[in-house]
Every structure is written in C-alpha cells, then in structure tokens.
C-alpha cells in the first residue's frame, strides 16, 4: 500500500472514529470500480484504495478528480463568495479573520504568504496591520524596513484571484507594490525554501487533496522562527449547539446557496467537507507531524471555527 493511500485510509478511519462523518453510499463510489467488481467485496475495497481515493464532501472520488471538482465549486461561487460568507456566518467571518491576523502579529518588512486567499480578505488585513504598526513606530525607526514588506496571495483558482484583484483596485490597494497575486497549488508552492515569515490559510486547507503535502510545503517555505496559522471551519462539541448547528448546516446553508448564488450543490459540498475535515486535536497532530512546534489551537464560537498555529524552529 502506498504511503498516500495509507494516509487516506488513516484519515477515513479517524473520521469514522469521530462519528462526525457519514460515509458516501456504495452507489456513489461504484463508478470508481473496475467493471465486474462487486461494490462490497474486499477486492473492490482494495482496488478503491489503490486508486488513491479521497473525499469530495461525502463522495469518494479519485485524487486527480478532486482538484478539478473543487475548482469547479469555486469558479461557480466566486462572484457571490463575499455575500454568501456574510450570510452564512452572519458577518462573523470578518471577526474571525481579524483574530487570525491579530494572532499573526504582522510587522514591517514581513514576507507573508496567504494561501487559498484569492479574494484578498486576509492579505488586506495583514497589509493594514503592518501600516498601523509603521504609523505607531518611534520616529520612523522602521521606515527603511517597510520597503521589504511583501505579501503574496496564492490561489489555485484564477476566478478567485480575479475577485481579489478587483477588490484591491476598488479599495485602493492597486498602487501597492508589496502585493502579489499568484496562481499556485498549496501542495506544490513555487516559493524558495525558508523564504517566508508567515503563512496563513483561511477556509482553504479543507479543500486540499493531500493535507499532509500542504503542511509540508508550508513548513518548507517558512523561515526559522516563521509561523503557520490556519483558520478553518471545525467541529462543534457543545451538545445542544451541535444539533442546532447541524440543522443549520444541512438545511439552511444549501437553501441559501440556491437562493442567492443559484448553486445548491456547491454549498452542500461545503457543509459536507467541514464534516469530513479532521477535528481540532487530529489536525493539530497533523501539523505537529509536519515538523511544527508550539502547536496550539483556539476555538471560536464553540468550535464552529478554529485557529491552529505552529512555529518552525
């Protein structure tokens, strides 16, 4: 069994253990099987595993297909992305992103990489934070360093990047030489080893095919002392709140998606992908296995979202 398949199997097993996931029906997975192979047979399961299966919501798909399917989802929702975020989180996503950036503590001269941040939400906040630090600085003590500041926004989806660029011009960030928009994959970043001070990924790692690869890449591009921060929708453990949240997730969000964005399926995927994502402890374990130290997480709104952080030393 290849390492990748083993990792996928382990992830599936951990999801089953958490009882926070409903596995896709055999019918959904059947199209992946070779002809003449019964869906329930052990041979079928082995073949399925060797095909490097991964999850797309509750469906099982080939790894090669997942990035294409995720790409389609985000191409579909790009135009209404902001409106839907506000509706789904009642505007709280803004506070969550503020908290992420305050935990990052940006500084003038920082080289920062925001992955899966096509809309620029996090990047703009980092930039504003650096500017406010510069204004507070004693007698221009750090103005010489300010020129070294550079924020890279990396996203695999060109439509999302276009939304970000458009917003940048609307908000007057177009003049900023320190802001770069790069189309790239979180699993194969085009940056040099040890080139970044900070790495953030907000609501993006859930959509990555191989989380371990993305974490390894994050570790690779960070400098010694660099920090990894991940803001992601996570698992609620508060009993009554969990039930309310489940009803809201599976009934309200897809309906709102259909109403506002005219796309129920994409938002159904969103909800399912949250349930498939490892819980806070398991994800923290994965971050530590990638080599990070001082791995911590902070739950916001009872675990609806969590901010995980790690330090490269």
């Amino acid at each position: 069994m290849t390492l990748r398949a083993a990792a996928a199997a382990r992830r599936l097993a951990s999801c089953t253990r958490q009882q926070s996931v409903v596995l896709g029906s055999q019918a959904e997975a059947a199209h992946l099987l070779a002809p003449g192979m019964a869906a329930g047979s052990p041979r079928a399961a082995a073949a399925f595993l060797h095909s490097h299966a991964t999850s797309f919501g509750y469906k099982q798909v080939r790894e090669e297909e997942k990035s294409k399917l995720v790409g389609n989802v985000f191409s579909s929702v790009a135009s209404s992305y902001d409106v839907m975020n506000d509706l789904m989180s009642a505007g709280l996503h803004r506070l969550w992103k503020d908290r992420l950036v305050s935990k990052l503590s940006p500084f003038p001269g920082m080289k920062h990489l925001d992955v899966a941040g096509g809309t620029g939400d996090v990047a703009f906040r980092v930039l504003d934070s650096i500017k406010s630090v510069s204004r507070r600085a004693v007698g221009g003590a750090i103005s010489d360093i300010e020129e070294d500041t550079h924020i890279y926004v990396c996203d695999i989806n060109p439509n999302m990047l276009n939304v970000g660029k458009k917003r940048a011009s609307e908000r007057g960030y177009n003049e900023e030489k320190c802001l770069s928009w790069i189309q790239g994959d979180a699993e194969a970043l085009s940056f040099e080893d040890g080139s970044m001070d900070g790495y953030t990924i907000a609501f993006g790692i859930r959509n990555v095919t191989h989380i371990e690869k993305a974490l390894a890449e994050a570790y690779r591009v960070l400098k010694r002392g660099g920090r990894f921060l991940c803001l992601e929708l996570s698992h609620v453990d508060v009993p009554l709140f969990k039930q309310i949240y489940d009803v809201y997730s599976f009934s309200v969000i897809p309906a709102v998606g259909e109403l506002v964005a005219g796309d129920r399926q994409s938002y159904q995927y969103l909800v399912e992908s949250i349930r498939r994502f490892p819980n806070q402890e398991n994800f923290a374990q994965m971050i530590q296995e990638a080599g990070f130290e001082r791995v911590e997480y902070e739950n916001l709104v009872g675990g609806v979202v969590a901010i995980h952080s790690g330090l490269k030393l």
């Binding site: 001269g109 004693v138 003590a141 400098k223 010694r224 002392g225 923290a284 296995e289 997480y297 030393l313």
Partner: protein
C-alpha cells in the same frame, strides 16, 4: 545551554541552602533561572516546587479578546508526533518533546536578550522585539508566538536583573556586604538592583504601565516579592518571627517608591535617588526600633502594673484568710 542553567540552579540551591519564599502565589511559580527565594517565615513548611512544564501552555488571552460575538477557548497541543509504522516509545517521545520545548525557550531567551538593546530607542514594544529577532537571525514572526508580547520582554528583564544581582552577590560582593551595618547593606543591594534599570530609565514608565495591566499584575507582584526576599536574604536576614512579612512589605514599599523617585531624578548619576534610598531604609529601621522599644515598654509596663495589681490582690486575700 538549558542543561547548564539547570545544573547551575541546582548547584546554587545546594551551596547557598536557599529556601523558598512562603507566599502561596510565589511558591506556585515554576522555578526560574534564579534561586526562588531565601528564608522561611514561622510555621511555613517548605513547599516542593513542581518541575517546569515541558511545553508551556499558552497564557490567557488577556486584553486580546476574540472579538464581539466570537466566544473563544484556546488549547495547547502536545501530542507525541510519532508518524509512520515505527512509533517511538513514550519515553523517547517525551524526550523529543522536552528538547523541542527547550529549543523554543532558548530561542525566546535569545530574542528577548537581543531586544533589550533596542529598548532605549524603541521602548518596551513589539518593534524592539522584532529588531531583536532580526539581530539573532530568526524570523521576527516568532514574536507573535510569545504569550504576552511586551509583557514577556519586561518580565524577562526583571528575571535577568534578579539573576545578575544573585550572581554578583555570589561572586564576592556578598563578602563585602558583611562588613556593613544592616541599613547600609540593604541600601547597597537596592542601589545595585536599581542601577540595572538606569540605561532604560527614559522608557521605564512604559514598563511600569505594562506591569500594571490586569493580565500582568500577578507576575509583576511575584517578581517583586522574590526580589525583595533575595535582598533580605543577602542582607543576612534569617529571622523566622512574625517580622518576616513586615520586613518584606516595608522593603517592597521602599523599593517601589525609590523606583518612581528615580524616574524624576535629574541629578548626576542619580545621586538624589541613592540619598533617598539611604534615608528611607534608615527611617524604616529606626521606626522598627521605635516599635520594638514601644513593645518592650508596653511589656514592662504591663508587667509592672500586673505585679502591682497582683500584690494588692495577694494582700487583700491574705488579710481575709483566717
């Protein structure tokens, strides 16, 4: 490095036979680099300090809230991190974790020490810490991982000054102190400690305001309590009477007022501050003597009056007996 510090701490504990500060809050502290405290007050068993945690858990968020409508809880993750088929033994995993924790502590100490050089120009600020991180060749992003940012810098400075004071006493200044009278000994020790703040005096009000923030008050008080106890111990106080608390409270007050006086002192080399310290300590010791004399007088008067009353009663009862 961490190992050598631990060895030195053990050695200094063994040789100096220093005991633990009795305040419950201070006893709860994990041992720092310096010897934590000196003498023990009456009827106070010496508490055993727990070993320092392998990986410090994050401190409360303090003033940094999670924002309106975003209730939060934070947790530190300390999994073993063993992956693949060959899982390391629990002992090995713990060892690796201890090493990782030590690595972070070492980097933090390096950054904070380098940051102190930038404090006179940039103040007790994140900017100074960022500059310090650059000096030691680590990404300044590491500063964001320090639990309470500027407070961490001030606390490091306080700890470091205390360690320097102890080192100077152990290195021979302690012998010179023995030739002085108690008030001079205390004055010299307070002066030695305050002189360490002289290079940062223009920015010290900022440090005081950081220390007085609700999230930092308890640590600040603990550090001052340990400092005052070390000064009394170095001055030769081995008392185990009720005065133990009074002495430390009085000296703590003198130290704090001298610190504030120093901020407004424009005399060359802080001469006025040292005069102020000498006077306050003399006054305090004179007052203590006055209190003692008053106590003796009251005792004597009590004994005298008691004797007189007893004599009268004896006579009365003797006369009434058949």
């Amino acid at each position: 490095m961490a190992a050598s510090i631990a060895a030195r701490r053990l050695l200094s504990r063994a040789t100096a036979a220093r005991r633990v500060l009795p305040l419950a809050s201070v006893a709860a502290l994990a041992p720092r680099r310096f010897s934590a405290g000196a003498s023990v007050p009456p009827q106070t068993p010496t508490p055993t300090l727990p070993p320092p945690p392998l990986e410090p858990t994050p401190e409360p968020l303090g003033s940094e809230g999670a924002g309106a409508g975003a209730s939060s809880s934070s947790s530190s993750f300390t999994g073993t991190g063993a992956s693949g088929a060959h899982r390391s033994s629990p002992g090995a995993a713990a060892g690796a974790r201890r090493q990782a924790g030590a690595g972070y502590q070492e980097e933090q100490e390096k950054v904070l020490r380098a940051s102190l050089l930038h404090v006179p120009r940039m103040g007790w600020s994140e900017s100074a810490m960022v500059a310090g991180a650059r000096d030691v060749g680590v990404s300044p992003a590491i500063v964001g991982a320090f639990p309470r940012k500027e407070a961490a810098l001030v606390e490091f400075f306080m700890d470091d000054c205390l360690q320097q004071l102890i080192d100077r006493i152990d290195a021979g200044e302690g012998e010179q102190l023995k030739t002085l009278i108690l008030s001079e000994r205390l004055s010299k020790l307070v002066r030695m400690r305050l002189e360490m703040q002289a290079p940062y005096i223009s920015k010290w009000p900022q440090a005081l305001s950081i220390q007085s923030q609700p999230a930092n008050v308890s640590t600040s008080l603990k550090q001052r309590a340990v400092l005052v106890d070390e000064i009394w111990h170095a001055a030769g106080d081995a008392g185990s009477d009720i005065d133990w608390y009074v002495k430390r409270t009085v000296l703590g007050g003198i130290y704090s007022t001298s610190e504030v006086y120093m901020l407004t002192d424009n005399s060359p080399e802080f001469r006025d501050t040292w005069t102020f310290v000498n006077r306050r300590i003399k006054d305090a010791l004179d007052l203590q003597k006055t209190f003692q004399e008053a106590a003796y007088l009251a005792e004597a008067m009590g004994a005298g009056v008691g004797g007189t009353v007893q004599g009268v009663l004896n006579r009365v009862f003797q006369n009434r007996s058949p």
